[in-house]
Point group: C2
């Protein structure tokens, strides 16, 4: 019986994680659920899984608290989370909190527990990079791409046998749209992802290809591979999630249906494999898989991410902060789609000094970039 915590339990990855856990009542025991709001959905989850602890960021109503099972304790926010970790023995912690707000909980898990961290929050890795060096053995990536690469690279010597790794990208909703029209796209349109059903932040990041850029940086740190040997390939069907080419010209690929439950399933049972209840891929139903090169001119965010990745920390931490604010401003209608890379570049350029930092300083750096981007971005309407 594995004990599990799910952070961000009411989001897309969180609910899918619980869907899998629900199918294996003999294998997993949910000890902790963590969500921003004390919502009806969270209450339902608590009633079903009866965790020892439930954490909310916002303060719940008295009524909500009254409905909790008697065996479930409630705590508030990150401090409550940290406190409750002292009493719980957790084998695996799923961090499915989206965006920069997922960074701090990751650090808490890595520093205060011995649990495996099943990490959907890529901002953690991009912001912290090499500062995570003591912890890589405990991090299993949940991103479909990195989960695929993780499985593929497990038995290859990255430094001796691997020529390059390939991250596939659906290309997002604007793959075929001319660049001049990108300026006018609405948030609603950007939120219609052709393949994956995800949270808002990551869906916009997918439309700008910043998500893929983040994944490049994430892959660099996770798999210790230089940027020159990380390739992005547009693959609209999103069936192949990652590929590894060996120096002798063999290209290994990992496929599964466009369904996050496959990588989550793998990570929950890691290091073993367990027979799944999910319907596997039928390539004759898919019919065809296609591939094209990414359009670097149209999707500037991808280029930015490679450049920032090569510069490394503290630029990477600044990138995630700036992007978080830029996407928020776009969703609020305060900047347009092409302003996103422009604003990010402006924030990055404002950071010139090399910083000495530790894990603690990273969060404040991310927040600094976030606040700066919020402020500058809010005046874009007037300036452009």
């Amino acid at each position: 019986m594995e004990t599990v915590a799910v952070l961000g339990s009411t989001g897309s990855i969180g609910t899918q994680t619980l869907d899998i856990i629900r199918h294996y009542p003999d294998k997993f025991r949910v000890e902790l659920l963590y969500a921003k709001r004390a919502s009806d959905l969270l209450l339902e989850q608590v009633k079903e899984f009866k965790p020892s602890v439930v954490i909310t960021e916002d303060k719940p109503s008295t009524q909500w608290l009254k409905e909790l099972p008697s065996t479930t304790q409630h705590f508030l926010g990150l401090e409550g989370f940290e406190y409750s970790l002292q009493k719980l023995e957790l084998n695996k912690v799923v961090n499915a909190i989206g965006g920069i707000f997922g960074i701090a909980p990751s650090f808490v898990v890595l520093k205060k527990t011995h649990s495996l961290l099943l990490l959907a929050n890529k901002e953690t890795i991009i912001a912290a990079g090499d500062f995570l060096n003591p912890f890589w053995e405990r991090i299993i990536p949940l991103d479909s791409e990195h989960n695929a690469l993780f499985q593929l690279l497990k038995n290859l010597k990255t430094d001796q046998e691997v020529e390059k790794i390939v991250l596939t990208a659906s290309g997002g909703p604007f793959r075929s749209l001319p660049k001049e029209e990108l300026k006018k796209v609405s948030p609603q349109r950007a939120l219609k992802h052709p393949r994956w059903k995800m949270g808002k932040k990551i869906t916009v990041d997918s439309a700008t290809l910043m998500n893929k850029g983040f994944e490049v940086i994430e892959a660099h740190y996770l798999f210790k591979i230089p940027y020159e040997r990380i390739e992005v390939l547009i693959h609209p069907e999103s069936i192949i999630h990652g590929m590894v080419q060996t120096i002798d010209g063999n290209l290994f690929a990992l496929m599964s249906p466009t369904d996050m439950r496959f990588p989550i399933h793998y990570a929950l049972f890691y290091p073993l494999r367990e027979k799944t209840y999910l319907k596997p891929l039928d390539l004759t139903e898919v019919g065809k898989l296609t591939f094209e090169k990414p359009d670097w001119e149209k999707f500037e965010c991808l280029k930015i991410a490679y450049e920032v990745g090569k510069k490394g920390f503290p630029y990477t931490a600044y990138l995630v902060g700036a992007d978080e604010a830029a996407v928020e401003l776009f969703l609020e209608g305060k900047i347009n789609f092409l302003d996103i890379p422009k604003l990010i570049m402006e924030i990055l350029n404002s950071l010139s000094q090399e910083l000495k930092a530790d894990l603690e300083a990273i969060e404040s750096l991310v927040k600094q970039a976030y606040l700066k981007a919020q402020e500058i971005g809010s005046s874009y309407r007037k300036r452009y």
Copy 2:
């Protein structure tokens, strides 16, 4: 420096093997070449690679022998091969002899040496099956499909983690031809394979899909996996060579260009990987990969192979003998394309008894089926 022998050196796989060896003069030393005829090509190869021994099946002319380098000894046939193995220390023996005539040399290598056998001759495995149990550790498959599966399965527990393996098939030249027209296809047309340039026997086997059926049996023995978990998938581009689906719904695939030098390269350097001079795959050039189910009604040979595989030895040995003769008769214009499965079934049905056999008896069993099929097939014109 690895010492290598190449059996069938003037054929398609043989010349491609020497092409790779030519590029790594510091890595390999060719000690023995073996071919059917004392041809000009073989003489050229001997002059270039200066092996200690050259073997021919047929007797060479005096002139041919005179032109051999002084350091190269010539011997005749299988006996000469066996004799010369006593003096040579071979790390790797490539058996690229096509069809049933490649079986005996495989057995000699396995029984009389400690070399790794890099095996392109699938008839060896199909005919001998479980009798090869003492030798699997020394056999590296060269078939692109099995080589791919070999690489993919190396780090998976076949009995615990693998749901199924998938052999891809181009579908051959008659994939889109209606069954009623198959009766009329000429040998010339059957020899035009859409993807692979190969010897005649295997090209016709690819057109009937018997080659894929052979590969199913080969995979069964090589990877110890039941027939129910071996799938054939039509994939006309022949870029994905093999796939393995794990029980948790991950589908691992191995791709490389449609070029036998990739699997040969892997096998020659096995267990290491070496940087290749070959141009690797560019999926954006390929553009798309497509998949469809095989047409079992049209390609009876595939069905026959599964059935024979499930019955096991001695039927498998009979199958390769009968198929060898049937393909020869088809190429000679003595039977038509649809007579191939018919003749094979007739020969298989003539074998009713269960046999106790050893490695030695296998060859005579294969020959028995071959001769019987030759005789019966020769009268097809009169009978149908």
